[in-house]
């Protein structure tokens, strides 16, 4: 029996991972810095047509794309003359497990079955657990979900408790843990003990599964409206939603469509802190995941992360917790759709962004998620209040994460606040150089970094020369 201390298990992580995903990631590495991302996606992932077929077998995808006429009208009332794009929403809640995560799970579970694994494991406190469990039921596999649920007082986030219940509803075994990054340690032990497949959120399978979402948006809009969206907004946490959607948009040939990431502003709250854990009212879609993963994606449960949001982001904005709860209420009351709340992060951003855009343009919010007991503005705000967070109406600009949640007094107060992409790019470059230890960069390295930060080779070189002590060979 292998030794089980934290250090011992972590030392075996690469071996455990290799057996549990069946991917030899070293094949794609060129050196300490460069790896061939497209080769990894092509060789390990599945082609778009195959994925549509795989997803068709389990009822995933082909979700409705709906126009939000009343929210568009609100945005137009707030916008300058001639402005106010039409807002559409992709109703991903109509996937079998109630969120776009069914797409992300579908290919992993299909692949696990094909490779002869008897079960799948995922480390997630989000909708992904239910997605994996639901897909596994359809393919006849067992599921174990490892979840971060409680603080040290045994108090659980209502939203996560609901997500755990949903996993159990699909017959999954759920391991519930207190706060901490050692969830990964438990996860590795489970993989080692069971020999199950690692249905990671971050493999090429997971990301390729989301490509159909971007592809569908473009096909549906071209058919129904005869145009491509000017903007697609994606709620951004670990980056897979945005990465997969953007890749699908590219595969559909929509070259002019801008991809905007949106996260809930949770600045100041530490994600691994026992004290902060229950002082946040969003457990996903927030900056606590979004910024670290954008600035350094290779912090996930696989050696090379296929979710690389910075490669595809044209803009990255934040919204406040109170704004998302407000817009969740608006979606129910004005459009007749009770969804979210975390998935409505991008909707809150879209209502603000639409006001900057022309009236004949289209902005697409690319997901919704199911809602229910625990996972809804009412229980989440009640829980926040019980934990000493002040809830009031006012100007969301005054919101301080962990101290208060401010429900806007009117929709004009909802803003999409730009994060400085240059800073995020510099932070990525800093980590990339630091981790690789390279002091001299050739053409291949600069080209790789340029793709990683979604900037031209020339501008990437300038950024590198101005900010880092590296030699660049021309």
């Amino acid at each position: 029996m292998a030794a089980k201390t934290y250090q011992e298990v972590m030392e075996r992580r690469n071996q455990i991972m290799k057996e549990a995903v069946g991917i030899d990631y070293d094949r794609f590495r060129r050196n300490e810095l460069v790896f061939d991302y497209e080769k990894m996606m092509a060789e390990v992932g599945y082609q778009l047509d195959e994925i549509r077929e795989i997803q068709g077998q389990t009822g995933v995808g082909k979700t409705p794309l709906l126009e939000l006429e009343n929210l568009t009208a609100i945005a137009r009332k707030l916008a300058p003359a001639g402005k106010g794009a039409r807002i559409f929403i992709k109703d991903e809640a109509s996937n079998p497990s109630g969120s776009f995560k069914a797409r992300r799970a579908s290919v992993s579970v299909y692949h696990a079955k094909k490779q002869g694994y008897s079960g799948v494991v995922a480390a997630t406190s989000g909708n992904y657990g239910a997605a994996v469990a639901s897909q596994a039921v359809m393919r006849g596999l067992d599921t174990i979900i490892v979840q971060e649920v409680y603080d040290s007082q045994g108090k659980g986030q209502p939203e996560i408790l609901e997500k755990g219940r949903k996993c159990e509803a699909y017959g999954a075994e759920v391991l519930q843990l207190t706060v901490g990054p050692e969830l990964f340690y438990t996860f590795l032990k489970v993989l080692e003990d069971t020999g199950f497949f690692n249905a990671s959120l971050y493999t090429p399978f997971g990301i390729a599964g989301v490509e159909t979402l971007g592809f569908e948006i473009i096909s549906q809009l071209r058919k129904d409206e005869g145009q491509d969206p000017a903007v697609v907004v994606c709620t951004n946490a670990g980056g897979g939603n945005l990465t997969g959607t953007a890749r699908g948009i590219n595969k559909a040939g929509a070259k002019e469509t801008a991809v905007v990431g949106a996260s809930v502003d949770l600045s100041g709250l530490h994600m691994a802190s026992d004290r902060d854990f229950n002082r946040k009212s969003f457990t996903t879609g927030h900056t606590g995941f979004g910024i670290p993963f954008a600035t350094w994606p290779d912090r996930a449960d696989v050696p090379l992360n296929a979710a690389r949001a910075l490669r595809y982001m044209d803009r990255y904005v934040t919204v406040k917790q109170g704004e998302v709860f407000y817009i969740t209420e608006a979606l129910a009351q004005l459009e007749g759709m009770e969804r979210g709340p975390a998935g409505n992060t991008s909707l809150a951003a879209a209502v603000a962004l639409a006001q900057e855009m022309d009236r004949d343009e289209i902005i697409v919010v690319q997901e919704t998620e199911y809602t229910g007991a625990g996972k809804h503005p009412i229980p989440q705000l009640n829980f926040a209040r019980e934990n000493g967070v002040e809830i009031r109406r006012g100007d969301p600009e005054d919101e301080v994460p962990g101290e208060n949640i401010i429900i806007p007094e009117e929709p004009g107060q909802i803003k999409a606040r730009d994060l400085d992409l240059k800073r995020i790019r510099l932070s990525y470059l800093n980590k990339a150089l630091e981790n690789s230890g390279l002091k001299e960069l050739g053409r291949e390295e600069v080209k790789f970094l340029s793709a990683e930060i979604n900037l031209s080779v020339e501008k990437t070189r300038e950024l590198l020369e101005e900010n880092f002590e590296v030699e660049i060979r021309h």
């Binding site: 174990i144 659980g156 609901e162 159990e168 075994e173 901490g180 990054p181 407000y326």
Partner: protein
């Protein structure tokens, strides 16, 4: 004497996954002071009292040992009280849609 919970009951067990001093070096100070705890639900293998060390079999057939903490684990999350801060939002927005101009 406390009553024994019958074998086969659906229960929840608790275990210390890592003691405070065994935790990862990078955890924040407040998290590092407390252990990493774990809860699992399953079918009790032999009749036992609360707080006893027991074995369970999970819904997919895995066996785990731990302290019996709940003889009837339930889902207590709900919606709860109405939230006054949200109650007017729909009315206000509908009123705004009815107003002339701005379009």
């Amino acid at each position: 004497m406390a009553e024994k919970i019958p074998a086969g009951s659906w229960v929840q067990i608790h275990d210390i996954e890592l003691a405070a001093e065994e935790r990862a070096p990078q955890v924040p100070e407040d998290t590092g002071r407390v252990p990493l705890e774990k809860w699992i639900k399953g079918f009790l293998q032999e009749a036992a009292e609360l707080d006893e060390e027991v074995e369970i079999e999970t819904v997919i057939g895995n066996r785990y040992r731990g302290r019996l903490v709940d003889a009837d684990p339930s889902y207590d999350h709900s919606f709860g009280k109405a939230v006054p801060e949200l109650l007017q939002v729909g009315r206000e927005l509908k009123e705004m849609l009815r107003e002339e101009g701005g379009e």
